[in-house]
Amino acid sequence: MSEESFLTDDFLRQLMNVGEVDIVVGLPTHNNAKTVGPIIQTIQSGILRGFPRERTAIINADGGSRDGTTDLVRGGSIGDVGAKSKVNALRTLHSISTDYSNSSDDSNGAAFRTILAAADLLRAKACVMMSPESANIEPEWVSKLLRPVLDDGYDLVTPTYRRHKFEGLLVTNLLYPMTRALYGVKIREVFSSEFGFSSGFGSKFLEQNVWDDRTYTGGAELRFTLAAITGKYRVYQTFLGDKMHVERRGAELVPALRQTVGALFSSLGPDFPAWSVADFASAPTNGSDHQVLLDPLRVNRKRLRAMFSTGILELESVFQSILSPETVAELRRIADMGENNFRLPAELWVKTVYEFAISYQKSAINRDHIIQALAPIFRGRVYTFLTENRDSSADEVEKNIEALCLEFERMKPYLLQMWKSIE
């Protein structure tokens, strides 16, 4: 088994001491000392409320934190040593930690892989991943993400959130509509940092995936969702509540694209047999599948538009290697438009994304460059979305997203046709 080689001796010893468990809570961290303490406590109270009798372990895969994150995690164990914890817990609740940053692969995927391997070795029945950054995690989340797995036999439980209509635009403008159009399953948060899954699915994913390739380990969470769809596993959505990050991190668009769009594009190749023929289905959902907040949000739209136009202008040579001449011309035309009537319409957006996917598959140029080149165009799309939905109500926003989904579906034959021409 490959996991034997990438798990350290120390970690294996910790796993040995934890022994067989029913539930594994996975917590990937990297310099999260500020938040990890309360999050561990919330997870623990979630476990104590929802699963007081189940054997549980919190497993932290850390990317080489230097701020004492791992000490906080380890110190969070509920046990009998020192009798410091006054928590009314039936059982010992181990909270263990390993540092994967010294292994050859230190991407986010390595953390997920470490947790999957640990859950597999501990023979956990169900596993839940938690984000170390959620500012508003509730104890109930643990139950909401695990109950469908433990009680109803679902294999993957993805969350839905109440979030601002302009938050998560990469999800609403690309990831959700595109996966829905191609794979035929309606999963709102295809990429989330909180989700639950069954041991069967987790182990299968661990075993089947190509982990040695770095391009594969990045965005493992999205690949995980896609694997659930293509593997015909049972997927469930559950409403968690507000999604809030500790800090807004707008500047990190390119890494986000790599993790999500990169993973999606690179999955299209191996998943072709599945998505080329997929029928449409909808994952069962507990609670609302989306909720929208409408309070005003300050956004520098001018900057967005400027970055789009500069991008189109400056990257024309790059786009010529990625996009069809017509699309390039169309983008140029839009880029030159005045501020008032500037708009990147859904159809052109979808076409652009599909052509990007094709070029990615062909490796027309370096794949990472392809992903980076998408950023300015996405900004243009964001600008358009903001403009179109500035005064929209929740329902109208949802209607627009639905329309975009349909556009992705309508254009699917275009993608298929191009795809077949390169094979």
Partner: protein, 546 residues
Amino acid sequence: MPLDRDTLWYKDAVIYQVHVRTFHDSNGDGIGDFRGLQSKLDYLQQLGITAIWLMPFFPSPLRDDGYDIADYHSVHSSYGSLEDFENFLGAAHDRGIRVIIELVANHTSDQHPWFQESRSSTDNPRRDWYVWSDTDTLYKETRIIFLDTEKSNWAWDPVSKAFYWHRFFSHQPDLNYDNPAVREQMWQVMNFWLQMGVDGFRLDAVPYLVEREGTNCENLPETHQVLKDLRRRLDENFPGRMLLAEANQWPADLRPYFGNEDEFHMAFHFPLMPRMFMGLKLEDRKPITEILQQTPEIPPSCQWSLFLRNHDELTLEMVTDMERDYMYDSYAASKTMRLNLGIRRRLAPLLSNDRRRIELMNGMLMSLPGTPIIYYGDEIGMGDNINLGDRNGVRTPMQWNGETNAGFSTAPSERLYAPLIQDPVYGFPAVNVLRQKTAEHSLFNWMQRIIAVRKSSAIFGRGSIEFLYPANHRILAYVRKLGNDAILIVNNLSSTAQAVELDLKRYKGNILIEMFGKNMFPRVGDLPYLLTMGPYQFFWFRLRRV
């Protein structure tokens, strides 16, 4: 084999709890008696126990298994005469076995002449020997113990037209310890039996002796004063005799009962027992170590008394609601197994008759700090009969052999005080003393061995305890120490094989000698000491420097 002279004998003792009625019937009336019990003393000596705790054998209407006493100075006619008791006592002492009897001091039967007098009129001299009131609103903050049968701690007496106080059944009125005459009378009762030669008393229901308005009427300072008086008179007149407190309380609340070595010698550690069962089921040492961490230090001459099962239900008063639910679901799936706040089952059925678990639990009983008490029949793994009411299911006749009435009595079966266990697994044809004595690997022979090993070292009874906290929480490990001697005890609470690394740095250089086989294990070095343990396995190692 005469009795040893050590006044701390109770610290090294292994106590056997038995009701005379249940053990052996010498006269064929279907009820065990003192002559029968005496005839089985050789068996008990063989087992290796050093003391017998006899449950109440006094004249009584037997509405609460003898805990409703009608005469403190005599023996119930079914069990024989006072003379029979004296003979039994002498025979036990001849075998080096001490005898502890019950002192039900809190209450009497409503048939006791004292109560009859007390209720007869309000100006009777014995009127305030009991707690009378015109209303049933006093002491409202006091909890009701027998939730399943009693609605109130006050009962209406139609004879004297007043309410009387009772913490237990309504036919057991509480004595009034605010009355000096009652206190004097109780000492006279003790004096009577001590003169005869009994070695100690188990005092029943001690927290409840005195009542005060505005309190929960438990563990009151006045109660402690009553007990301290009795202890003082005991020490003055009969040194070397022992008082054992039955007080179902949290360890911190129990601590005052030891006083400053001037109250009880011993007290039951009630909260530990359910947590041992819980730890076993959870495969997690946390409940056990936690309760022992909360257990206060006690004076040097004092001792905890530990037990796995007794004549009552496995009490779950001293656990949290969550823990109680877990215990019910784990050990008493059927509602008929539950009684009050507890589980009315014997050891073997509780542990699914799993020999490894029975051995592990007994191993912990014998090695944790305290004096172990073995409930009669548990040494052969007797079963219970949950179809009998109240706690009678765990009080069925002792199973001596596979013949008629299990060798307990020659009376016709229907005349036995209680039916024998008949089911195929635990019934007397399958589980009996004769059979186990002849089978080399029987539980009886194993119990005999572990008692012998325990008696081989004073550390078990008198040593300190220090927990090791290996990262593997399925392993309960501790070191018992007395002077320069130390014993390492490692218990695997899990149903699966486990590896454990013990931090024995302090004992570096010692070799480990397994106490049952006397074999050597590797010397302790700088590295963590690695042990692999089978399912429910336990080790006792003597640490030896060579």
